[in-house]
Amino acid sequence: METVTFYSYKGGSGRSLLLANAAQFLALAGKRVVALDLDLEAPGLHYKLRTGEPAQRSLNFIPDRGVVDYLLRSVGTAPPESVADYVLSVAMPPGSAALWLMPAGAAPSGTYWKGLTALAHHGLLGDTDSDAIATFLELQALLAEELQADFLLIDARTGITELGGIATTLLADKVVSLLLDNPESLAGTRAVLRSIAQAVRLDDQAPVEVIPVLSRVREANETAERRVISFLNEPGASPAETLSLHRLFVLEDDPYLARSEHVLLDGSLDAVTSALGMGYLGVMRHLFPSVTGSRANVFRRQEAVRQVQQWLSWRFAWGAPVSSGAFEHGLRVPISSDDAYSPVRYVDLALFLDPSRSIPFVVAEYIDDPDDLADSDAWTWWQRNVQLNQVVLFARDVDGRLMTRRFVRAADGSLNEKGAESG
């Protein structure tokens, strides 16, 4: 398992969002991923990586438990033997590899803050003693073994903290360091990166690879990028502390995504034509060279979902396009609307026309293999959800054309196909 820690000296750099994108990207490309929220003082990864369950799509969703509860169980005794109770399965399309989230805990809540205070008292927030270090290393090993993860992505706390130190120097194989183009972020980041380069490592660990990412850039500008990388690489007090970073990655500012905290690489928007999306992909290509061969499949799906969204927004427009806010991506919808314990099924896209958003009006599922589109009986599942109006199954043929099958609910309650469409 490879561990990548996402760190930023200052907040507001889009660190967690980049991590969420990396996690989705890897899972879509078939890699098993665990996202670990170690930003314990201000956790929020669970807002970006969602399980898609109806109850958990609300803004008020609070995970049951997470890292803090795992650590509290470890106080004065052996850590739990299983992480199963502390991780959530993030909604991903069929065909993707599993993506788990280990949230910080039941945050935000009083119970969570009390737990955090108790941990600090027990010295388990990364204090430099053998037990604290061993506890985090044991957790890392357990996630690798039990979940058979290919990648562990850690969201580290900003600034200088004990836990941030462990996450970037002892747990990480690579550190993605996000920085902003302002004096305090640049100076602080350089000091920390110089430090990480000299940090103590365990016996069989290679030196940490650092990947600097300049984020929230108004407009990509080579002069500014050269200035930043030159500043980071300025000679330090000794050769050991001088950085030799060859490349600076750039993420352009996108106020819409920053506000909505939208995960771009989940098939919902066209990453290929968005400047921020291209920036994300540049980082992914460098970070995960072994998975870039699978990118074509990720793009095929993304593009298909985007096209279906456009198509649906016009189909239900009645004169004006349905706003993008009426759509949700990557969620789990109950098969039956009248059974509280109904199983749920993943959909790539759902269109909600009622403000309560309890039941989608249309659900759309991407079928990986275009040959399976004709035989797919996915729509039969949805027969039971009588509030659903339409089901769209879609795929791409070998020439890249979008193929769809659309089922519309008839007056007698059955879902009937409206004829195959392609184009």
Binding site: I160, G165, V200
Partner: protein, 138 residues
């Protein structure tokens, strides 16, 4: 330094270390390391066959272990186990001390014990304590 002077010093050091440990003081580990160093000096001065010499050897290993200096504890143990004049009881006590610590660490952190071992974790911990900050300070 004479054996008597070392004995006085070690008594004071033990009382101080125990008091600091009772107070949950972060400097308790350093105090136990001091105890281990003095006991080691006593062990040099006294043969393993001597009752006081055996006590010093046990104390040196045990205090190093409490201080979190696990590789030091193991080095001392290895050295004392190799001494020909040590009694079987002393050997067994030293072996038990080391085994117990490693067994307990292995039971709590099976993956970490298998991959890195207690001594390696102790080495890194010491380096972090010495560095005095979450990140090395230049």
């Amino acid at each position: 330094m004479t054996v008597d002077e070392l004995n006085m010093l070690v008594t004071e050091a033990i009382l101080r270390a125990d008091a600091l440990a009772d107070l949950d003081s972060p400097t308790a580990a350093e105090a136990y390391l001091e105890v281990s160093l003095i006991e080691e000096r006593l062990a040099v001065a006294l043969p393993a066959s001597d009752v006081e010499g055996a006590i010093a050897r046990r104390g040196a290993v045990r205090a190093a272990d409490i201080a979190g200096e696990h590789d030091r504890a193991r080095d001392l143990a290895t050295r004392y186990l190799a001494e020909e004049d040590g009694s079987p009881e002393l050997r067994e006590e030293i072996m038990t001390l080391i085994d117990e610590r490693e067994r307990s660490f292995g039971a709590r952190y099976p993956h970490v014990a298998a991959r890195f071992g207690l001594v390696e974790i102790a080495r890194v911990t010491r380096a972090l304590v010495k560095q005095g900050a979450p990140f090395p300070v230049g």
